[in-house]
């Protein structure tokens, strides 16, 4: 029996990238849900392709990536999704890998799949080290053995969402979700994708990384 695959795309001020992301991902999924997270530009309008496959939901104010992902996942569950694939709205993720990623997920009976960026563009050195260090902390604190915890290209079985319910509404919600996978003992695997960097100055900074590190210590104590 084929599984219903729904792609969730959190997007904030992505008017220049979102159309292509939605067009490409809709070729590889049953539905695409874009969450315009309070963008000040034309992200919502650009994401509307006039296709029944594409749904654009709008946060009236910017809540953050974690909150946008949560809204998207709730919408996907409401649409009776079996597998939810999360991708970024900036076009960094190779969406043509979605079918292969899902196939590997099913073949290995994984409940969650995390992608690993390897090859392609070079990741900025600070991010490379930051990523390495955070992965190390996650491994020791949360028993989560991942090589690229920051990558937002993931596949999640819809039925495990209640187990990995994340609370943080900002970018750290995505990390919290990953850590919950480690803590709850779900079956997870990794899938290798090429690294693409469209803008080196966007995304998380070293300060975000330090803040996240402090949060991870707190989560270790309270979760």
């Amino acid at each position: 029996m084929s599984k219903m695959v729904v792609v969730v795309v959190p997007a904030h001020n992505e008017e220049s990238n979102i159309r292509k992301v939605v067009e490409e991902s809709s070729k590889h999924a049953d539905r695409v849900i874009v969450i315009d997270d309070g963008s000040a530009d034309r992200t919502s309008e650009e994401a509307q392709l006039g296709s029944r496959k594409v749904i654009v939901l709008r946060h009236r104010v910017n809540l953050g990536k974690g909150a946008a992902l949560k809204t998207g996942c709730q919408a996907a569950v409401a649409l009776a999704a079996d597998i939810i694939v999360t991708i970024d709205g900036d076009g960094q993720h190779p969406v043509e890998h979605i079918p292969l990623m899902v196939k590997e997920m099913m073949a290995n009976n994984w409940q969650v799949v995390f992608s690993v960026r390897q090859g392609g563009d070079r990741m900025p050195l600070v991010r490379l080290w930051g990523n390495y260090f955070l992965n190390l902390v996650a491994r020791n604190f949360f028993n989560l053995k991942l090589r690229d915890m920051w990558c937002g290209f993931r596949a999640i079985r819809a039925d495990v969402l209640p187990v990995i319910d994340w609370q943080n509404s900002d970018y750290s919600g995505e990390i919290q979700m990953a850590l919950m996978v480690g803590r709850s003992g779900l079956a997870y695997g990794e899938y290798i994708i090429p690294t693409v960097y469209s803008d080196r100055f966007r995304g998380v900074s070293i300060f975000h990384g330090l803040k996240l590190l402090a949060q991870m210590v707190i989560w270790r104590i309270i979760i």
């Binding site: 104010v61 809540l63 909150a67």
Partner: protein
């Protein structure tokens, strides 16, 4: 009266004026008005008559009124920080819930 006492009195009186102003603009309830006015009157009184808190200072085993004021200020600051954090978190959760519900309503329309 030394400068710092005068400053304390001016700040306290200005705060009472602002409190009354907020009440007249219906931004404070009558209860809030009484609470803040009483607090600021105590502040002005202690600024003008610092020796009035000696009994409290003696009772707590402190050596100077300034020690009492500093300790009280830190306690108030910590309490306010905690209250602000809790209120901020609560408001954030409410906002997130409201925004999400609005967004998901668009899904129901389809």
């Amino acid at each position: 009266m030394i400068g710092v006492q005068l400053l304390g009195m001016v700040v306290g009186l200005a705060a009472i004026h602002l409190t009354y102003l907020y009440y007249r603009r219906a931004q404070f309830t009558k209860r809030e008005l009484y609470f803040w006015v009483i607090l600021w009157v105590i502040f002005v009184f202690v600024s003008v008559f610092p020796k009035s808190i000696w009994p409290v200072v003696d009772y707590l085993g402190l050596s100077r009124p300034m020690d009492f004021i500093m300790i009280a200020a830190f306690i108030v600051l910590f309490a306010l920080t905690f209250v602000n954090y809790v209120v901020n978190q609560r408001q954030g959760r409410k906002l997130e819930k409201l925004v999400r519900e609005q967004a998901l309503k668009d899904l129901d329309k389809r």
